[in-house]
Amino acid sequence: MKSLTLFLCCLAVAIGVSGQEKKRKQSTYNKAKQNKEDNKFLDKQWWLGFKAGVNLSGVTVDKTYSVISPTNYEASTIGKQYDNFKLIGSQATIEVSFYFKRFLLSFQPTYQYSRFSYENNFEWNAQNAEGGQTNHVELKYEQEQKLDYAIFPLLVKYDIYGNRLRPYVQAGIYSAMLINATKSLTASGIDNAAGGENQFRSESVEVGADDLFAKYHWGLMGGVGVNYNLGNHVRLNLDVMYKYGMSNISSTEHRYGSDRLAGVGDAMDDLTMDNISISLGCLFPLRFLQSTLQTLDK
């Protein structure tokens, strides 16, 4: 089903591009000879850009998995509690865009470092004959996921208006390839079995987790941004993007592949990951109208 969705998205992009070709012909017919040189430039331009910034990630659980299977209490009491959009990641992007009549077809390969975390809480209690609590142990596992992805977005952008300041909207699809994944695990808790409240916290343990995550996933993306012409053919770019994950980022085959993590009761849920990013960068035209390297942006 999701493969079909992907195909339809690609088809929509292709149709959009095709449609713009027709619009361009009509426009050229209606505005014959007006600012001909300007239009020539604006009708077809390649842009190359670089941008980088920060991002926040959050996940949506499709199906919960756990190594711990309770025999006398509800599984929901030890379920994972996700901290979404709290840990800052980063990204760097190369942008290659083809512009015609305010529309751009843009390919933006990105290196993205994403983080998200969750925690599990466990409790064991003993009660005396009167129902009072006599012994008590609490254990909390905090798990942070650090994921490096190569992301390949294909976007259609539309310049809303303007010359020097050019806001735009954008939408598209992306495919992500996992480069590296690690998980860090920290255990902490309270133990009063020794006669007093003994609070403990272990050192974080870093575990390689490439096998626990899907090699590829994909999603839809959309955003807004603004280009500002610096006056010397270079555009300063501020870009805000939201990526909406469409496929599972966890490995279904190797969910229990890490003995170290399974040993403490951890198994990855089936997850889709969303990501919001803010980037700042520059765009350079690859073709110039005049030998003085001046663009037509005012």
Binding site: T71, V137, S175, E253, D259
Partner: protein, 405 residues
């Protein structure tokens, strides 16, 4: 110009198609490989597995022991039964009343039910218990005969071959017991004279001392055997169940040495492991004399310093990629379950795998599953202290990869 972009678009679409091999949920994967720890949030709950069987629905039924928390109940171990589904998820459990205690392996499947031996805590008389695959009810009936203190059993030719202890006559007893509780045959052999000889045996039953690898079964040559105390020594004793004296004895080192696992293969060939003053030795391809008196210390074997002192060892005869493989499972000093694979025909070491980390893991039983994989049942200690039953399921593909390293 736009036409010039078509090839680029095409390249991008191909790139997307190539990279968009998205991960789909697959219940088959969830059945083939999983790790499950069955937790109870009672501080003083203590469960440990003894044996496990896969049920026809693909799930698992576990025979376990439990600490009897009420001191008035018994000093022996209580009986705990649990059912998990084919994903390893908890389905149901049952704490059998303390009028029956001391459950022992094998947990045998026979005519849609699962049977095991246990005992009456007052009279120490052996009992046969049966339970259905869904843990609807447990039926317990006393063994008709003199078998007391059952220590281990194997299910051969639709009967239990059990080893027990007769503390009145100070004898280790081997008996053939039917699933209905009838005692078809039995024979006792002296453990020796004196309280010191009996002490480790009673400590074994009360779980206050060393847990000895008692076992009983039938060798391919038709002789019965038990692994237990005989003549002051933990020994492997071969008998025809009629002679007053054993046919053959492989002696250990009093209570400090002997076989830790015995698996008959063909003829006089056995897969074995032995312990000797804390050291462990694996003998995956050994021809054992079943007559006369010999010593375990003469047998040599692969020494494994990584195993805990006098380690518990389980041996499973499995088929991996059409090859007959012996899987040795044991407890390592790093608190993992170590699996060691040997070619059954040659005894050659062919691979290994270590399960568990972070919390301690200990082995209880090995089962080859219907899908060709391996299910390891054991004990782990949540938060480093609460003993809980766990199942670690390895897929057929992983097993094949492990056994071909």
């Amino acid at each position: 110009m736009i036409k010039k972009t078509y090839p680029i678009l095409l390249v991008l679409l191909v790139l997307f198609a190539a990279l968009s091999c998205s991960e789909e949920s697959n219940p088959e994967f969830d059945k083939q490989t999983f790790t499950t720890i069955f937790d109870n949030n009672k501080f003083d709950a203590s469960y440990f597995p003894i044996d496990m069987r896969q049920t026809p629905d693909g799930g698992y039924i576990i025979l376990g022991g439990r600490k009897l928390t009420d001191e008035a109940e018994s000093d022996f171990t209580g009986i705990y039964l649990m059912k998990a589904d084919h994903f390893g998820n908890f389905v149901k459990d049952m704490e059998v009343a303390s009028t029956s205690v001391n459950p022992v392996a094998d947990f045998a499947e026979f005519q849609t039910k699962y049977y095991f031996l246990c005992m009456d805590p007052i009279s120490q008389q052996a009992q046969v218990a049966s339970v259905d695959a869904n843990l609807e009810s447990v039926n317990i009936s006393p063994v008709q005969g003199g078998l007391t203190y059952p220590a281990a059993a194997s299910f051969v030719d639709n009967n239990f071959i059990a080893v027990g202890y007769n503390n009145a006559d100070k004898q280790t007893v081997i008996a053939i017991v039917g699933p209905d509780g009838s005692e078809l045959s039995s024979k006792g052999y002296t453990i020796g004279v004196g309280e010191d000889v009996e002490k480790p045996i009673l400590q074994h039953y009360l779980r206050t001392g060393t847990q000895y690898p008692f076992d009983a079964g039938k060798a391919p040559n038709g002789l019965y055997y038990f692994n237990g105390f005989y003549n002051y020594t933990f020994s492997l004793v071969f008998t025809d169940m009629t002679s007053d004296d054993p046919i053959g004895v492989v002696e250990g080192q009093r209570e400090n040495g002997g076989f830790s696992a015995v698996l008959p293969l063909t003829g006089n060939k056995f897969a074995l492991s032995r312990f000797n003053f804390g050291d462990n030795f694996l003998l995956p391809n050994n021809t054992l004399p079943t007559s006369g008196i010999t010593q375990t210390t003469d047998l040599g074997g692969y020494s494994l310093p990584e195993l805990v002192s006098n380690a518990r060892v389980r041996i499973l005869r499995a088929t991996v990629d059409t090859k007959n493989v012996l899987i040795y499972g044991s407890d390592t000093k790093s608190k993992q379950i170590g699996l060691l694979y040997y070619d059954e025909s040659t005894g050659e070491f062919i691979g290994s795998r270590y399960l568990g980390f972070s919390n301690p893991f200990e082995i209880a039983s090995l089962t080859q599953t219907a899908d060709g994989g391996l299910a390891v049942c054991g004990t782990t200690y949540l938060a480093g202290r609460f003993p809980r039953i766990c199942i670690l399921k390895i897929s057929k593909e992983e097993l094949a990869a492990d056994a071909s390293k």
